[in-house]
């Protein structure tokens, strides 16, 4: 339920604390019900699945799932039943079409880009180690001269070696 913020927060809290006060139905639900319920979003507590939510609407939805399972419907048919009434939104794993496709495309693109970047960067860095570092010939000469100086003059200060 939308409305003022206190009301919305109240609803969120209710989602955490709701219980079937009053006459609880004698509902025996087996694990198949929960497996299907886990794929449906609770319409009231939208961050929980129908399996986890304890609000009345979710309980009713679980009852409906149970009745339909007993009537022989398949998981797909039951999910479609709720999809007809609530839209793609009710499925926690909505079909990858329309707006829902975008997030998957982005995720996939990120993988491709990341892998590509790693390949490019990796190749460049490995290549770099094979190239000798370009050194100014004048610097090389200087080093050679100083080293020679050290070999001939043992008393020269060791500053260069530090």
């Amino acid at each position: 339920m939308t409305g003022s913020r206190p009301a919305r927060l109240g609803a969120l809290l209710a989602c955490l604390l709701a219980l079937a006060f009053g006459l609880a139905q004698a509902v025996q639900l087996d694990s198949r019900v929960f497996e299907i319920a886990r794929q449906l979003r609770c319409p009231v507590c939208t961050s929980e699945s129908v399996a986890d939510s304890s609000v009345e609407l979710a309980q009713q939805m679980r009852q409906i799932i149970k009745d339909q399972l007993e009537a022989g419907r398949s998981e797909r048919e039951i999910l479609a039943y709720f999809q007809q009434r609530y839209g793609d939104w009710i499925l926690l794993d909505p079909p990858k079409r329309g707006i829902h496709l975008v997030v998957w495309v982005l995720a996939g693109a990120a993988v491709v880009v990341g892998a590509g970047a790693l390949a490019v960067v990796g190749r460049r860095w490995v290549g770099r180690s094979r190239q000798p570092i370009a050194v100014d010939p004048a610097d090389l000469e200087r080093v050679r001269a100083e080293l020679q100086g050290l070999e001939t003059d043992p008393d020269a200060p060791e500053a260069g070696l530090r």
Binding site: T2, G3, G22, L23, P43, L57, Q60, I64, R85, G87
Partner: protein
């Protein structure tokens, strides 16, 4: 590299900052969430009627009985605070529009076993349009409810035209009823 990096940073921050500013500012508007039922026939129901209306409508009221008339179907519950805000508005509009052929139907839902509280709610606001009881919330699910209050607008042909989530306001009712009666 420096220039690019700086530009990239500023751009990223601007985008993110804008996004979050939007998030802060939008608050919680009562938006008309598109319903999956839009344009489809309203799901049938037959529900027991609150005692106030038994004389007029019998023990149960079904959608079939109301065929051919535009409908305003309002879902409420006794624990729902905004429902208390919208009930007087609905009653006022019912009194105005009763003779135009529109039928207002209130459905008490997600309120298992709370018929007495429902009666108290009706008494409190003196609601004179029919109210029925959806004890096990099955009709709620059929109509794709996300919570209460939600109000559906059904055409004469029994097709759901629109849905309003949250308490109805005079502006909403003006617009929707105009569309219904067209």
């Amino acid at each position: 590299m420096k220039r690019q990096g700086l530009l990239l940073t500023v751009l990223a921050v601007a985008l993110l900052g804008g996004l979050f500013a939007y998030g802060l500012l939008r608050g919680e508007p009562d938006r008309d969430i598109p319903t999956a039922l839009k344009g489809k026939p309203a799901p049938a129901f037959e529900l027991p009627v609150h005692e106030h209306y038994v004389n007029q409508f019998g023990e149960t009221l079904s959608l079939e009985e109301l065929e051919g008339r535009p409908l305003v179907v309002n879902f409420w519950a006794s624990w729902c605070a905004p429902c208390y805000d919208e009930a007087p508005v609905l009653q006022a509009y019912w009194e105005r529009y009763e003779d135009t052929g529109v039928v207002f139907v209130g459905v008490q839902t997600q309120d298992r076993g709370k018929r007495a509280e429902g009666r108290a709610f009706i008494d409190l606001f003196g609601l004179s349009f029919p109210n029925v009881v959806d004890d096990d919330s099955a009709v709620s699910v059929d109509w794709g409810l996300f919570g209460v209050p939600e109000t559906f607008f059904v055409s004469r042909d029994g097709v759901v035209l629109d849905k309003h989530v949250g308490p109805v306001t005079p502006q909403v009712l003006d617009a929707q009823l105009a569309a219904l009666l067209r």
